[in-house]
Protein backbone atom coordinates (compact mmCIF):
# COMPACT_ATOMS: atom_id res chain seq x y z
CA UNK A 1 0.00 0.00 0.00
CA UNK A 2 0.99 3.64 -0.43
CA UNK A 3 1.16 6.27 2.29
CA UNK A 4 2.41 9.77 3.01
CA UNK A 5 4.74 9.59 6.05
CA UNK A 6 3.48 11.08 9.30
CA UNK A 7 6.30 13.65 9.49
CA UNK A 8 5.17 15.11 6.16
CA UNK A 9 1.54 15.22 7.30
CA UNK A 10 2.55 16.98 10.52
CA UNK A 11 4.25 19.65 8.45
CA UNK A 12 1.44 19.86 5.90
CA UNK A 13 -1.98 18.91 7.30
CA UNK A 14 -3.46 19.40 3.82
CA UNK A 15 -1.75 18.29 0.60
CA UNK A 16 -3.77 19.00 -2.50
CA UNK A 17 -2.74 17.63 -5.89
CA UNK A 18 -4.38 16.23 -9.02
CA UNK A 19 -5.09 12.55 -9.57
CA UNK A 20 -4.96 10.68 -12.88
CA UNK A 21 -8.35 12.12 -13.87
CA UNK A 22 -7.09 15.67 -13.13
CA UNK A 23 -9.39 15.90 -10.11
CA UNK A 24 -8.02 17.48 -6.92
CA UNK A 25 -7.37 15.06 -4.08
CA UNK A 26 -6.02 15.53 -0.56
CA UNK A 27 -3.02 13.30 0.19
CA UNK A 28 -3.57 13.86 3.92
CA UNK A 29 -6.48 11.43 3.80
CA UNK A 30 -9.43 13.65 4.61
CA UNK A 31 -12.07 15.52 2.64
CA UNK A 32 -11.57 19.28 2.47
CA UNK A 33 -14.46 21.68 2.14
CA UNK A 34 -13.37 25.29 1.89
CA UNK A 35 -15.44 28.40 1.33
CA UNK A 36 -13.67 30.55 -1.27
CA UNK A 37 -14.53 34.25 -1.32
CA UNK A 38 -15.16 35.71 -4.75
CA UNK A 39 -12.43 37.69 -6.50
CA UNK A 40 -11.94 39.66 -9.71
CA UNK A 41 -11.95 36.48 -11.78
CA UNK A 42 -14.22 34.07 -9.90
CA UNK A 43 -17.54 34.05 -8.06
CA UNK A 44 -17.60 32.83 -4.44
CA UNK A 45 -17.90 29.08 -4.17
CA UNK A 46 -17.32 26.09 -1.95
CA UNK A 47 -14.37 24.00 -3.06
CA UNK A 48 -14.49 20.33 -2.21
CA UNK A 49 -11.41 18.14 -2.36
CA UNK A 50 -11.90 14.44 -1.74
CA UNK A 51 -9.38 12.32 0.16
CA UNK A 52 -6.97 10.46 -2.11
CA UNK A 53 -7.55 6.72 -2.38
CA UNK A 54 -4.98 3.98 -2.91
CA UNK A 55 -5.39 4.18 -6.69
CA UNK A 56 -4.58 7.89 -6.57
CA UNK A 57 -1.55 7.32 -4.34
CA UNK A 58 -0.30 4.51 -6.56
CA UNK A 59 -0.59 6.72 -9.66
CA UNK A 60 1.30 9.54 -7.97
CA UNK A 61 3.95 7.18 -6.54
CA UNK A 62 4.62 5.77 -10.00
CA UNK A 63 4.86 9.33 -11.32
CA UNK A 64 7.65 9.97 -8.81
CA UNK A 65 5.83 12.02 -6.19
CA UNK A 66 8.46 12.77 -3.52
CA UNK A 67 6.10 12.40 -0.54
CA UNK A 68 4.52 9.01 -1.28
CA UNK A 69 6.14 5.78 -0.13
CA UNK A 70 5.19 2.16 -0.62
CA UNK A 71 4.88 0.10 2.57
CA UNK A 72 3.73 -3.40 3.45
CA UNK A 73 -0.04 -3.61 3.83
CA UNK A 74 -0.68 -3.35 7.59
CA UNK A 75 -3.96 -5.29 7.30
CA UNK A 76 -2.19 -8.19 5.63
CA UNK A 77 0.50 -8.12 8.32
CA UNK A 78 -2.13 -8.24 11.02
CA UNK A 79 -3.84 -11.25 9.43
CA UNK A 80 -0.49 -13.05 9.10
CA UNK A 81 0.24 -12.51 12.76
CA UNK A 82 -3.04 -14.12 13.74
CA UNK A 83 -2.33 -17.08 11.49
CA UNK A 84 1.02 -17.62 13.21
CA UNK A 85 -0.68 -17.65 16.61
Amino acid sequence: MYIVPQEILEQYPELVTLNEANKPVNLAGKRIEKQMPGDANNAPKVRVVEAANQKDLEFLFKKGHPFIVEVADTNTTSVSTKEVK
Binding site: Y12, E14, L15, V16, T17, L18, N22, K23, P24, L27, I32, K34, M36, D39, A40, N41, N42, R47, V49, L60, K63, G64, H65, P66, F67
Partner: protein
Protein backbone atom coordinates in the same frame (compact mmCIF):
# COMPACT_ATOMS: atom_id res chain seq x y z
CA UNK B 1 22.83 20.63 -15.77
CA UNK B 2 25.66 18.84 -17.59
CA UNK B 3 27.22 20.46 -20.62
CA UNK B 4 25.53 19.64 -23.91
CA UNK B 5 25.22 21.21 -27.33
CA UNK B 6 21.87 20.78 -29.04
CA UNK B 7 21.37 21.39 -32.73
CA UNK B 8 18.72 24.07 -33.28
CA UNK B 9 17.04 25.52 -36.34
CA UNK B 10 14.25 28.07 -36.19
CA UNK B 11 13.86 27.77 -39.96
CA UNK B 12 13.52 24.02 -40.15
CA UNK B 13 11.09 23.73 -37.25
CA UNK B 14 8.89 26.73 -38.08
CA UNK B 15 8.60 27.62 -34.40
CA UNK B 16 5.60 29.57 -33.26
CA UNK B 17 7.31 32.92 -32.73
CA UNK B 18 4.46 35.01 -31.31
CA UNK B 19 5.77 36.97 -28.33
CA UNK B 20 4.19 38.07 -25.07
CA UNK B 21 2.12 36.46 -22.35
CA UNK B 22 -1.64 36.09 -22.36
CA UNK B 23 -2.50 35.30 -18.73
CA UNK B 24 -0.81 34.15 -15.54
CA UNK B 25 -1.49 32.35 -12.27
CA UNK B 26 0.31 33.33 -9.06
CA UNK B 27 0.83 31.83 -5.61
CA UNK B 28 3.38 32.04 -2.82
CA UNK B 29 6.38 29.73 -3.07
CA UNK B 30 5.49 28.41 0.40
CA UNK B 31 2.08 27.33 -0.93
CA UNK B 32 3.78 24.69 -3.09
CA UNK B 33 4.91 21.58 -1.24
CA UNK B 34 6.06 19.31 -4.08
CA UNK B 35 6.39 19.04 -7.84
CA UNK B 36 6.42 16.01 -10.10
CA UNK B 37 8.08 15.93 -13.50
CA UNK B 38 7.44 14.11 -16.75
CA UNK B 39 10.45 14.30 -19.09
CA UNK B 40 11.68 17.42 -17.31
CA UNK B 41 8.34 19.23 -17.57
CA UNK B 42 6.34 19.97 -14.41
CA UNK B 43 3.31 17.71 -14.71
CA UNK B 44 2.04 18.08 -11.16
CA UNK B 45 2.02 20.53 -8.26
CA UNK B 46 1.12 19.58 -4.72
CA UNK B 47 -0.21 22.51 -2.73
CA UNK B 48 -0.47 23.21 1.01
CA UNK B 49 -4.24 23.65 0.59
CA UNK B 50 -6.79 24.26 -2.12
CA UNK B 51 -7.55 27.50 -3.98
CA UNK B 52 -4.07 29.01 -3.62
CA UNK B 53 -3.36 29.73 -7.30
CA UNK B 54 -4.78 33.15 -8.17
CA UNK B 55 -5.58 34.07 -11.74
CA UNK B 56 -4.08 37.26 -13.16
CA UNK B 57 -6.10 38.67 -16.04
CA UNK B 58 -4.21 41.73 -17.22
CA UNK B 59 -4.55 44.19 -20.09
CA UNK B 60 -4.59 42.67 -23.55
CA UNK B 61 -2.56 45.44 -25.10
CA UNK B 62 0.72 43.64 -25.77
CA UNK B 63 2.50 45.14 -22.76
CA UNK B 64 2.77 41.96 -20.65
CA UNK B 65 5.94 39.93 -20.86
CA UNK B 66 8.19 37.41 -19.15
CA UNK B 67 11.85 37.81 -20.02
CA UNK B 68 14.83 35.80 -18.81
CA UNK B 69 18.02 37.68 -19.56
CA UNK B 70 21.22 35.71 -19.12
CA UNK B 71 24.46 37.38 -18.01
CA UNK B 72 27.87 36.51 -16.60
CA UNK B 73 29.73 38.82 -14.22
CA UNK B 74 32.90 37.84 -16.10
CA UNK B 75 33.65 35.17 -18.73
CA UNK B 76 34.43 32.55 -16.07
CA UNK B 77 31.45 33.32 -13.87
CA UNK B 78 28.28 31.21 -13.82
CA UNK B 79 25.32 32.33 -15.86
CA UNK B 80 22.71 34.20 -13.86
CA UNK B 81 19.35 34.80 -15.51
CA UNK B 82 17.37 37.82 -14.39
CA UNK B 83 13.76 36.74 -14.65
CA UNK B 84 11.33 39.62 -15.04
CA UNK B 85 7.64 39.69 -15.76
CA UNK B 86 5.47 42.74 -16.23
CA UNK B 87 1.70 42.77 -15.79
CA UNK B 88 -0.51 45.84 -16.23
CA UNK B 89 -4.07 46.27 -14.98
CA UNK B 90 -5.85 49.37 -16.28
CA UNK B 91 -7.75 51.66 -13.93
CA UNK B 92 -7.38 52.34 -10.23
CA UNK B 93 -9.56 51.23 -7.35
CA UNK B 94 -9.49 50.43 -3.67
CA UNK B 95 -9.30 46.73 -4.61
CA UNK B 96 -6.17 47.36 -6.70
CA UNK B 97 -4.48 49.26 -3.86
CA UNK B 98 -5.34 46.53 -1.36
CA UNK B 99 -3.98 43.91 -3.76
CA UNK B 100 -0.78 45.91 -4.35
CA UNK B 101 -0.17 46.37 -0.62
CA UNK B 102 -0.60 42.64 -0.03
CA UNK B 103 1.54 41.61 -3.01
CA UNK B 104 4.49 43.82 -2.02
CA UNK B 105 4.77 41.96 1.28
CA UNK B 106 5.11 38.48 -0.28
CA UNK B 107 8.65 37.20 0.23
CA UNK B 108 8.75 34.80 -2.69
CA UNK B 109 6.17 34.17 -5.39
CA UNK B 110 5.67 31.70 -8.23
CA UNK B 111 3.86 32.44 -11.48
CA UNK B 112 2.71 30.24 -14.31
CA UNK B 113 2.75 32.38 -17.44
CA UNK B 114 0.72 31.24 -20.45
CA UNK B 115 2.54 32.62 -23.46
CA UNK B 116 0.73 33.83 -26.54
CA UNK B 117 2.29 30.92 -28.43
CA UNK B 118 0.76 28.45 -25.96
CA UNK B 119 3.89 27.56 -23.94
CA UNK B 120 3.54 27.59 -20.15
CA UNK B 121 6.55 28.77 -18.16
CA UNK B 122 6.91 28.73 -14.38
CA UNK B 123 8.66 31.80 -12.92
CA UNK B 124 10.12 31.66 -9.40
CA UNK B 125 10.88 27.97 -9.06
CA UNK B 126 13.97 25.84 -9.63
CA UNK B 127 13.79 22.09 -10.15
CA UNK B 128 16.07 20.41 -7.60
CA UNK B 129 15.73 16.69 -6.91
CA UNK B 130 17.91 17.02 -3.80
CA UNK B 131 15.37 19.27 -2.08
CA UNK B 132 12.36 18.00 -0.15
CA UNK B 133 9.48 18.32 -2.59
CA UNK B 134 11.80 18.31 -5.60
CA UNK B 135 12.18 22.06 -6.00
CA UNK B 136 13.55 25.24 -4.48
CA UNK B 137 13.09 28.96 -4.89
CA UNK B 138 15.23 31.12 -7.15
CA UNK B 139 18.78 32.36 -6.37
CA UNK B 140 17.40 35.70 -5.25
CA UNK B 141 13.79 35.74 -4.12
CA UNK B 142 11.14 36.39 -6.74
CA UNK B 143 9.16 39.35 -5.47
CA UNK B 144 6.43 41.66 -6.69
CA UNK B 145 7.14 45.37 -7.03
CA UNK B 146 3.78 47.04 -7.59
CA UNK B 147 3.27 50.58 -8.85
CA UNK B 148 -0.01 52.42 -8.63
CA UNK B 149 -0.09 55.11 -11.30
CA UNK B 150 -2.64 57.86 -11.92
CA UNK B 151 -0.55 59.17 -14.85
CA UNK B 152 -2.05 62.24 -16.56
CA UNK B 153 -5.43 62.92 -18.08
CA UNK B 154 -3.95 62.16 -21.49
CA UNK B 155 -3.01 58.66 -20.42
CA UNK B 156 -4.28 55.63 -18.58
CA UNK B 157 -4.36 55.12 -14.81
CA UNK B 158 -3.07 51.68 -13.93
CA UNK B 159 -1.65 49.16 -11.50
CA UNK B 160 1.62 47.60 -12.61
CA UNK B 161 3.29 44.49 -11.23
CA UNK B 162 6.99 44.09 -11.94
CA UNK B 163 7.99 40.64 -10.71
CA UNK B 164 11.69 39.87 -10.59
CA UNK B 165 14.18 37.32 -9.29
CA UNK B 166 17.40 35.69 -10.48
CA UNK B 167 18.33 32.06 -11.07
CA UNK B 168 21.19 29.93 -12.33
CA UNK B 169 18.81 28.09 -14.68
CA UNK B 170 16.03 29.25 -16.96
CA UNK B 171 12.50 28.61 -15.74
CA UNK B 172 10.93 25.17 -16.18
CA UNK B 173 7.78 24.64 -18.21
CA UNK B 174 4.56 22.96 -17.13
CA UNK B 175 1.99 20.84 -18.92
CA UNK B 176 -0.85 21.82 -16.57
CA UNK B 177 -3.87 23.38 -18.27
CA UNK B 178 -5.72 26.42 -16.94
CA UNK B 179 -8.53 24.26 -15.59
CA UNK B 180 -6.07 21.91 -13.88
CA UNK B 181 -4.27 24.83 -12.21
CA UNK B 182 -7.52 26.32 -11.00
CA UNK B 183 -8.76 22.93 -9.78
CA UNK B 184 -5.87 22.70 -7.34
Amino acid sequence: MACGITSLSSVATCNNDIGGIARSFMCNLADITAVTLTSGVISGFTMASTGLWKQMTYDKDDTAYYNQTGARANPGAPLVATQTSFLKFKGMSAAYITAANAAKDCCNVVLIHVLNNGARIVQGIVIDATEVGGFSGTKTDTRVTPSVMSDTGANQSRLEYLIEGTAYDFSPTTSLTDSAILAL
